[in-house]
């Protein structure tokens, strides 16, 4: 077992992990931050996307030991402490960007990473960036719309596909 320490959503977190413990399992089982989901467990679906040192990564395809000393941000850290949703989360609600909600934590974290590097993405850029996030409910349209809206762009003209 190895002792790991990291900063998760701005707060210190630590625990004992095996070499093979995945970051997503450390977050969910040890820290009880169950907002980060395990969908496919094969790095295809993106339900487990979190940020490590500001970069979006799939927490199911990284060992907890590798995040030792890192700044980790998960879906739980996105809303304000009083529960007020952040801009992206609010846009998902306003534009019905989720149905069952299983993929949503990963979608929101990927969207946050996209808007950080590209504050005004085109619709095509949003769709391209979501290559690694799979949603089986919405058909993506309202997710794309929500992300466009969160970036402050007009979305009423976005035609349904």
């Amino acid at each position: 077992m190895t002792q790991v320490k990291m900063t998760v959503n701005g707060k210190p977190a630590s625990g004992e992990v095996e070499g093979r413990t995945l970051l997503v399992h450390f977050l969910r089982d040890d820290l009880e931050l169950t907002g980060t989901h395990v969908g496919c467990d094969t790095s295809q679906c993106g339900a487990c996307v979190v940020h490590v040192n500001g970069n979006a990564v799939k927490a199911c395809t990284m060992f907890a030991v590798e995040a030792d000393g890192a700044e980790v941000d998960t879906i739980e850290g996105q809303a304000a402490p009083d529960g007020t949703l952040n801009t992206i989360q609010q846009a998902f609600q306003d534009h019905h960007g989720l149905q069952c909600g299983f993929c949503t934590p990963g979608m929101v974290m990927s969207a946050a990473a996209l808007l950080k590097e590209n504050p005004k993405p085109s619709e095509a850029e949003v769709r391209h960036y979501l290559d690694g996030n799979i949603c089986r409910c919405t058909g993506y349209h309202n997710i794309v719309k929500a992300i466009m809206a969160a970036s402050g762009q007009e979305v009423s003209a976005l035609a349904a596909e």
Partner: protein
């Protein structure tokens, strides 16, 4: 996953030493290795993480060539090679998805030599030199078949030196479920010669299409490839496409790459 220990050396010398242990295996970005471990297709006793080794990271011009550290992620190459070698940056930008690109590394890709990976095509077409902890290997000698390279046990790719062509283009026909190429062609035009590398097609992994290189060396135009074909019998045949289909795609991808350059 079977159980294993993870070691985190801070420099290449310590990593090489750690890899001397029985059944030790290097871990770079882990975007292929971790799924492999989950499927219990590998059973290392020790994983030696290369992620904390700063000397393995970086993108910089050295003596007219582009040097990329073996531990450099695809996302970093995408950003930092955009001006110096745009075709290579574009290749890096199309590997996997954004989260995969933030972890996966060039050294990991080249060490694994997946027959459908992108970087082997870029390295082979560029005539790159693979630098390891103990020697330098020309790309022409490095790739030795599907998942096979010139690397010895415990040898680490520390960097890759890319000569920069006059013009180049990577044309990728994506297999959308895996986001690997079904077939892709990297065409690099140098002052005196042309190199063409194909990935995703051959049972032998990445290869140079020498007939296309000769034809393009004489006349750099898509029409120079008219009449040139590859043998589908030597190509990968699976549920995504037959060998004959892949052989056909080799021509299409190479033509499109040439058309993007001229």
């Amino acid at each position: 996953m079977y159980d294993f220990e993870i070691e985190r050396p801070g420099n290449v010398a310590d990593a090489v030493k750690a890899l001397g242990q029985e059944d030790a295996q290097p871990l770079s970005g882990g975007q292929t290795l971790i799924p492999t471990l989950k499927a219990r297709l590998a059973m290392p006793s020790v994983l030696v993480s290369l992620a904390g080794i700063d000397e393995l990271k970086g993108v910089e011009m050295r003596d007219g060539a582009l040097w990329i550290g073996g531990g450099t992620t695809h996302a970093t190459v995408m950003r930092e090679a955009a001006d110096s070698y745009p075709a290579l940056a574009s290749l890096a930008a199309r590997i996997g998805d954004p989260a995969v690109r933030n972890r996966g590394t060039i050294g990991g890709s080249l060490a694994n030599n997946d027959p459908s990976a992108c970087y082997p095509a870029g390295a082979l077409a560029s005539g790159a030199t693979i630098e390891t902890d103990r020697r330098e290997i020309a790309a022409d000698d490095y790739f030795q078949g599907m998942f096979t390279t010139a690397l010895e046990e415990g040898e680490i790719v520390t960097g890759v030196r890319f000569p920069i062509p006059q013009a180049a283009h990577y044309e990728k026909f994506i297999q959308p479920a895996s986001r690997f190429p079904l077939v892709a062609a990297f065409v690099a035009r140098f002052d005196s010669h042309v190199r063409v590398a194909i990935t995703g097609a051959s049972n032998e992994g990445v290869f140079r299409w020498r007939e296309a290189e000769a034809a393009l060396g004489a006349t750099f135009a898509a029409s120079a490839l008219d009449g040139l074909t590859l043998d589908g019998g030597e190509m990968i045949s699976d549920l995504h496409g037959s060998g004959a289909y892949r052989a056909h795609l080799c021509g299409v991808m190479t033509r499109r790459a040439v058309q993007s350059i001229v």
